[in-house]
Point group: C2
Chain length 456, copies 2
């Protein structure tokens, strides 16, 4: 048999024409969203002031297994997709493992991450509806960058609320977003009611994703022709991100492979949800019952491994709907962990449900071990990973090392969600030995849980 | 006929197995290098204290048309190559031009540029020779990053002399190079005789490439088991970079295309030389006599368009050989132009000779027009280009606009050498309107020409 190539690319003809909606195959559905004002299940219409119409429909759609990717979105994808499936030959050799390690690399675009897959879709639907502007939040800045690129392409205005601590730590992220023509406001800000309230309560706060979401939602609701878009957590985002796993699965099929273990970092769940959907389908329908799925989260923000499965607000200001999910409480203020994209207090309801029902595992890793894996990976694979992505690398290396012990030649697939060009302060802090780990105590977590709403 | 894809990738089988040595097909050869001590033509042996053996041989080889790419270097290439040939559909549409615009994108690797193609080869040969360490210089930082990646891969130590002004402006470049395990010293420095002399003469100078080269060469010569490597200008570098054009040409053939115009930015000439070699072959042998080749340089450092074709030192400290090339004088201190990779006083002897003999054209462009093109390109093509690469974009857009006037449907190919993630200060200065253009006066240039050595 011919040697498996380093990189496998689908042709444009082989690229997915439809997204895969994992909910259509789930044995049990996630619990419904609740309206934040009355704490009762909400319908599609309750979402219309926040999201654009087609996205509301997708959010509630748990029956259509496949949903056509609009031709214009397919065109957009063709600008930067297919993403390569890469065999980590050098890393395997360095680890001296019998395991075969693959990664799907989503960083080959200027946004530097997988976020563009959903940004393209969401902005397209907004344009179709005749909207003129969008608002969103961004933490590490990958989502804000991706969305600014999609808005530049489709010609919509965009305002990004960027978590203040990231805004200050990452001036170059701002500059990229400006280059693509969007406005950025550090959050919390004086531009919204919820922002002013949070500033009054926590003067000088560095902000959080939950807080930036509240501001972006408020601004969208009060602006004509404007809606809010979110880069993770939501069903619609996981739907769009399914393109990752569909490509991975097709690429692996081309080279005669199938993963024993699928690994992804998990903040809100968009990357792991997208990567694993096409493989989870095979587990759910019994074709591949033994595939393992591993969500990797930071020990500093351990929503799956140490959170509660409960109804909670998706934002700090409690203007967005509630979801039943693994959560640390919407007031949970994560420590200054460098993986800004993994600092959300909750987790995708779909992933939460699958985890709760035993279809996937989760591990929490400390950031110094994560950066150790990142540097090792960079030196062998010559790609500088984003800190978020490096969580998955850490777990993949750990699994490969287990294989070295056991002698098993497992096939490991992980999602390399993006590049770390804007995270060099974190790399420097690791290389200089000044990076520390932070693990919340049980008491810290109890404070967050105390804020969980009492439902029904 | 099927629509031409956005991206065309060669398969691993289709990737070049040999580099193409353009000199073997040149009607007249560039003039020989001169020994800096005696100003007489030098032989291979004179280069041995500076470069490793195989590279000395490649430097002097003007007869072998094809040179095998060692299997290990091919493996390295397969980590990040093939690079895609991209059809700029969105840019074409925005420009409303009948021209077809293609670009070969070399930024899909962590070094963010094409520099890795030669770094991989040079470090491989150094390892083969049993060397333990290498020295080099870097300006914008792309070459230093690429070399640090290759050294991490092959296990050699590396010391990078980084032009001080870039060292201070680009802390994140340093961090990337550190991540890959190399040492960096801002140049001029106290670590070399030539550095100390320059510092004495120009206290507080921001340095230049010519000066950093001198320091790196001196350090290599005085360190056991160590040699110097250079990222541009040299024949060997153009040879390694020929992989770019070989891939472009094969990819264009796959889709039934051939360029009417080939465009590349030109600092030392490595990118343009590499991109154009396979196409220049067809011009030299008469198969495609009408292809146009355009070198694009910054108006602030116009070696081809306003320099002298003369023997000159390749470095400020006059420790490296002399070459006959288009030059502004080895003392020419370019202004603080943001395209740090295009601030070299000279130009590849091969490109200089071809330009002198009328085989290619050159244009000089002001940096505000360059950044205007960069932002336009980013918004339409969703790739954030390096300022260096954006020089080629500027010229490609200008050619496409000429086609709009004339109605000609020319096929334009340009080299998109890399990404601009580390150049956000420059983007910010452009977007805020504080960027200015600098064009040296004739008097400025005369000062540089006055330093040209008198030969023979």
């Amino acid at each position: 048999m011919a040697k498996i190539p380093y990189r496998t690319y689908l042709t444009e003809e082989e690229m997915p024409k439809q997204w895969y909606n994992l909910r259509a195959d789930m044995k049990e559905q996630p619990d419904p969203y609740l309206n934040p004002a009355i704490l009762q299940p909400l319908g599609r219409d309750d979402l219309l002031p926040i999201f654009c119409e087609e996205l509301c429909a997708q959010e509630m759609n748990s029956t259509d297994r496949y949903i056509d990717i609009p031709e214009e979105v397919q065109s957009f994808y063709r600008i930067y997709r297919p993403s390569p499936l890469i065999r980590a030959y050098n890393l395997e050799k360095a680890l001296d493992t019998p395991a075969k390690i693959y990664y799907q690399f989503e960083g080959n675009n200027t946004s530097g991450s997988h976020k563009l897959n959903s940004a393209a879709a969401q902005v397209y639907y907004a344009k179709q509806q005749g909207l003129k502007c969008l608002t969103t939040e961004t933490g590490a800045g990958q989502w804000g960058t991706a969305l600014s690129m999609a808005c530049a392409h489709y010609g919509l205005d965009l305002t990004v609320y960027m978590v203040r601590v990231s805004y200050e730590q990452k001036p170059f992220r701002k500059a990229v977003i400006h280059t693509f023509g969007a406005d950025i406001i550090p959050s919390p800000s004086e531009t919204t009611e919820v922002g002013r309230a949070i500033l009054k309560q926590h003067p000088g706060t560095g902000g959080s994703l939950g807080c930036a979401i509240s501001e972006a939602v408020e601004r969208a609701i009060h602006t004509d022709g404007c809606r809010y878009v979110l880069g993770s957590v939501l069903n619609q985002v996981l739907l769009h991100q399914s393109v990752i796993g569909l490509e991975s699965r097709a690429a692996m099929e081309k080279i005669g492979e199938y993963p024993d273990i699928v690994i992804g970092c998990a903040g809100g769940g968009s990357n792991l949800g997208g990567l694993m959907a096409a493989f989870m389908k095979d587990k759910l329908d019994g074709t591949r019952p033994n595939t393992e799925f591993i969500a990797v989260e930071p020990a500093s923000c351990p929503s799956l491994t140490r959170g509660r499965y409960a109804y909670d607000f998706c934002d700090t200001g409690h203007v967005a709907p509630l979801a039943r999910m693994y959560t640390l409480g919407s007031d949970f203020m994560p420590s200054a962990n460098h993986a800004g994209g993994l600092r959300y207090h909750g987790m995708s309801p779909v992933l939460s449900k699958l985890y709760h029902d035993g279809y996937m595992k989760a591990v929490a890793v400390e950031q110094t071990r994560v950066f150790d894996a990142a540097v090792q990976f960079a030196r062998h694979e010559t790609i500088l990973p984003a800190p978020e992505s490096a969580h998955a690398i850490r777990a993949a290396i750990d699994e490969a090392l287990k294989c070295r012990e056991s002698g098993e030649a497992k096939t490991i697939l992980f999602g390399l969600t993006g590049t770390g060009y804007f995270d060099m302060n974190a790399y420097t802090s690791f290389l200089e030995g000044s990076m520390t780990d932070y693990i919340p105590t049980d008491e810290d977590l109890e404070k967050g849980f105390a804020t969980l709403p009492t439902i029904g």
